[in-house]
Symmetry: C2
Subunit: 198 residues, 2 copies
């Protein structure tokens, strides 16, 4: 399975934001919506082996699961609407029990550390960093977990946690890309492993 | 220079569409907006050596030029708003003279054939096709021009024109990606040429 954890540092934790102002009043929720798109969708289909975890302001994590998601569309507005719905269900997320928002979408009362700890059991944590080894010359692990930040840098404490947990530090190339673009390149890296030999 | 031509088969040619219904009433304009984002933007910056040409319903072409674009933001809604502005200026596009919409954004009264002919003089036309040679094992040309379709397949006549014009036929990999994801992979292919040797 391929998993992506994206840290939304200014993301909303209440549903009162406007779907028409995602980049402004909603704390750059547009960035996180594009990450869900990049993580789950291909042309006319969904990646069933992929999960996207959006960490909202270190308070909640919304998990989008490609294997069970339904009626999810790859536009920023549609994904934001689903996030709004999730934030209307926070009262149903108790302890580590998630609130089921819609098929394939769950809200957890968990910040970055708890989400990372939970997901780390299922795969190999990869920190994407401009100083890492280039993807093009690295071998993919079996169950990669990519950790990315939104439009802001990782904080010092996030960097410290990642230094302890990440088994690999990789770079997409000489350009610093948006998180969603990085995810698309990551998927393509996994998709094309060995592809030149076909 | 890197250029991208994207065919919007159902795209609007008048400005009356709603910015809140890009995937529905606006003929999947969301797809084209994501292509502008993928073509021009990197993290905290713009690709100055990149141009994106959106062909709207074979009637108009809107050109976004990374070297001169200003106050352009990478959200679907912001790009769609710029397209709406362009479609309010169609009366100013006379013959092959474009209407200047805003810095770096011009509207041409040109369909696919005229746009392709014009751009082909400036680079090597690449058709992206699932049966093409994998990007990962191909050498990039100096001035690539990628031609892509929106959510619909190329029509028979577009396919015929491309067969006559394209010098290369390449594939991003075994998965069929959205047009914007394909552009991101194409940029990364060019970005990382020789990168493993650094």
């Amino acid at each position: 399975m391929r998993q992506f954890i994206i840290l939304g540092h200014e993301a909303p934790t209440t549903p009162g934001f406007s779907l028409s102002d995602l980049a402004g009043g909603a704390g750059r929720l547009d960035v996180l919506c594009r990450c869900v798109n990049a993580g789950l969708f291909v042309s006319h289909g969904i990646r069933e082996d992929s999960r996207v975890h959006l960490v909202l302001n270190d308070e909640y994590t919304i998990r989008f699961d490609g294997s069970t998601a339904k009626r999810l569309y790859p536009t920023e507005r549609a994904v934001a609407s689903r996030i709004k719905g999730a934030l209307e269900s926070t009262a149903n997320a108790i302890g580590h029990q998630p609130a089921e928002v819609s098929p394939g979408v769950e809200l957890y009362r968990m910040g970055f550390n708890s989400t990372l700890e939970s997901v780390a059991r299922e795969g190999t944590i990869i920190e994407l960093h401009e100083d890492g080894k280039p993807l093009v010359s690295a071998e993919p692990p079996a169950d990669p977990v990519f950790v990315l930040s939104d439009h802001l840098e990782f904080t010092d404490s996030e960097t410290a946690v990642l230094a302890d947990t990440a088994e690999r530090r990789l770079s997409v190339g000489p350009e610093i890309l948006h998180a969603d673009q990085t995810m698309t390149v990551g998927h393509n890296w996994l998709d094309t492993e060995g592809y030149q030999h076909y």
